[in-house]
Amino acid sequence: MRYKLDLDIEEVNTDRRDFLRRAATVGGLAIAPGVILYQTGAAKPADQAVSSQQRWGMLVNTNVCQEDCDACVTACNEEHGLWDLGRPETDAQWIRKLNVKDKQTGHVTSLPMMCQHCENPPCVDVCPTGASFRREDGIVLVDKHTCIGCRYCMLACPYKARSFVHEPLQDQLPHSPRGKGCVESCTLCVHKVDRGDNNTACAEACAKDGHQALLFGDLNDPSSEISKQLKQHGGTQIRADLGLNTGVRYQGI
């Protein structure tokens, strides 16, 4: 059912003022050389829709990812209010540390695994209501207003990236709504991206711990750090054979 407004909506322009202020700050940072630690693209104005000019992605350098470190996982849980309810089979995990051991040599690679934000996501293909969708800027999300909880996307995902909320929740955080009966997964910290943070909670935590294994950025912008890194050193997709063109790339595997 669609409700149509018979009123003219004239948005009071507080958001634009907000944006101007923020844009000015970012500009100030950019003027001082050497201050910028990571790419700071200007935040889009709050009233502007996201566009396909950006494609957000992530680069994981498994060479520096530590096997005994799960800072990214903890940060994600904290950022999105994911609780450990003591039931590992049904508790949500948006990002997890995966250890991959070569049977022949015994060599172990440790890496974070989460939604790969595919360009052609199988979860979006199979979702009957269109609740699983890919935002213009490449972020794959679940619209929980239309998710009926059929879990078909969980069967379809090649990365086991999705969780189903198996119990009623309370105390959810305002920027990360989640609730019983819906499927959820890594949002690439979409609330931070829209805010102009230009980073995700996991990448921030990884950098804070001094590992710098996670790099967030715009794959469409040739001048972004992630694009430069990928151009120079390359990066692989997990299950590249499926042709999904993932937004998360890995180095060292």
């Binding site: 709050a46 829709a49 619209d143 305002p174 609730g179």
Partner: protein, 162 residues
């Protein structure tokens, strides 16, 4: 259907129905006094983001419109954002406590309980401002205690460890 043939019976039914409604009016009168006032006016000209009379009737229309824009297009204006509504309307009482949606003094609940309109917004969305939620969410709580807390809140009874 014999019962409906007698007018006398219909009259009795009507009176019983009316009496049944009286406590509801009372409850509304009592609880509305305890409902915290919003933080501030939206602007110098208007109290809320639209005239109050319109908001009372049509707030869900704005919310529905805005929700798809935010989720699908990433538009993050605050005028019709549910989080902004909550931030302004859910304020602490005299003891500094924030009402949850399950309390009848919660701004949304106070009216929705009275009109018996069920909403599922707060199955997923925060029903209080972030500061209030951070206060009740104790990251140091042990896993089982936390589960128990949630279950007590939902009145689901004992939980078995998995």
């Amino acid at each position: 259907m014999r019962i409906l043939k007698s007018k006398w019976h219909i009259l009795v039914c009507l009176i019983i129905t009316l009496i049944a409604y009286v406590p509801m009016f009372n409850a509304f009168a009592e609880s509305s006094a305890d409902i915290p006032k919003p933080k501030s006016n939206y602007s110098d000209e208007t109290r809320c983001v639209e005239p109050v009379a319109i908001m009372r009737k049509q707030h869900f229309v704005y919310l529905l419109e805005h929700r798809d824009k935010t989720v699908i297009e990433g538009i993050r204006t605050t005028q019709y954002s549910l989080n902004a509504c909550i931030d302004c309307h859910i304020t602490p009482n005299a003891e500094g406590e924030f009402a949850r949606y399950s309390d009848d003094t919660h701004f949304c609940a106070s009216c929705h309980q009275f009109t018996a309109v069920n909403i599922d917004c707060f199955q997923c969305h925060a029903d209080r401002p972030e500061e209030a939620i951070r206060k009740t969410r104790n990251p140091n709580t042990t896993v089982t205690a936390h589960t128990q807390e949630i279950h007590e809140y939902l009145q689901l009874g004992e939980t078995q460890p998995h």
